[in-house]
Symmetry: C2
Subunit: 136 residues, 2 copies
Amino acid sequence: MEATTKQFRKRNAILTCLRGTMLHPSAEMVYEMLQETNPDISLATVYRNLALFRSQGLIQSLGTVNGSERFDADTHPHVHFVCTECGAVMDLPQVEPPLSLGAAAEESTGCQVQGCQLTFTGLCGSCKSKMKEETS
Amino acid sequence: MEATTKQFRKRNAILTCLRGTMLHPSAEMVYEMLQETNPDISLATVYRNLALFRSQGLIQSLGTVNGSERFDADTHPHVHFVCTECGAVMDLPQVEPPLSLGAAAEESTGCQVQGCQLTFTGLCGSCKSKMKEETS
DNA sequence: AGATAAATGAGAATAATTATTATTTATTTT
DNA sequence: AAAATAAATAATAATTATTCTCATTTATCT
């Protein structure tokens, strides 16, 4: 038990970090968040384990925002919003992912659909406010 | 007229190339496609002008596939499919983009929605076939 | 305990993209 | 039309995110 836990201490810290945030962070962001509690984890280990988790289906990639790949520990189908101003990525739990469209896609193209990603882009609440201030 | 045309000869070649393909190419792919007709265009010029076109709203980015950003000269809302095996990006004109969901997103979050991107991932027809062969 | 295997740290290597600078090309001014 | 100014480009250096390498640590198995 104790030994087993210790073996994956860093690995678990990375997964726990990702599961405990709503920021949909990049590898670098995970690394920085871990500095407080686990300053002995290297950036390479973060990258390595994120790749591992993804290959295991434990996490998903949301694509890149401003050049950096963003990750999500929630692998259930759900919709995202990306702020083009500040790069924030957030869930839109109020919006239903249109999974039914996947079947239509398969029928019409002969592709085999495995995943679906719906992302809205625009200005988040706080960036929208800032824009108004600057104008007024 | 003549002079004006000449001034933007390379710029136009890049936009024309993107408008004339269904491949949703990367900057590198555009560069390679242009080699036949415009071997004197440098890769930097391709990058520079793609960034310009995007800032002007003439083209859109579809995000990165296998590390490279892909572009689309069709800025109307439409759905895409990305093959996780070969990296092909194709339109799914049969699938209606769920634009109405954008309003719901705005109401529930206070964000200002400006764009919407729906992408299905999986195996394209030809990669699906190859998989079957290997299994049989 | 000794041998084997897995995980990690540190930094080098890679690949995509962006920035810099000199040069070419076009436009405007005189 | 010549000179001056501005824009676009080529070539390449610089940057940034990510991956790879390898020596070292740490754990597991015998």
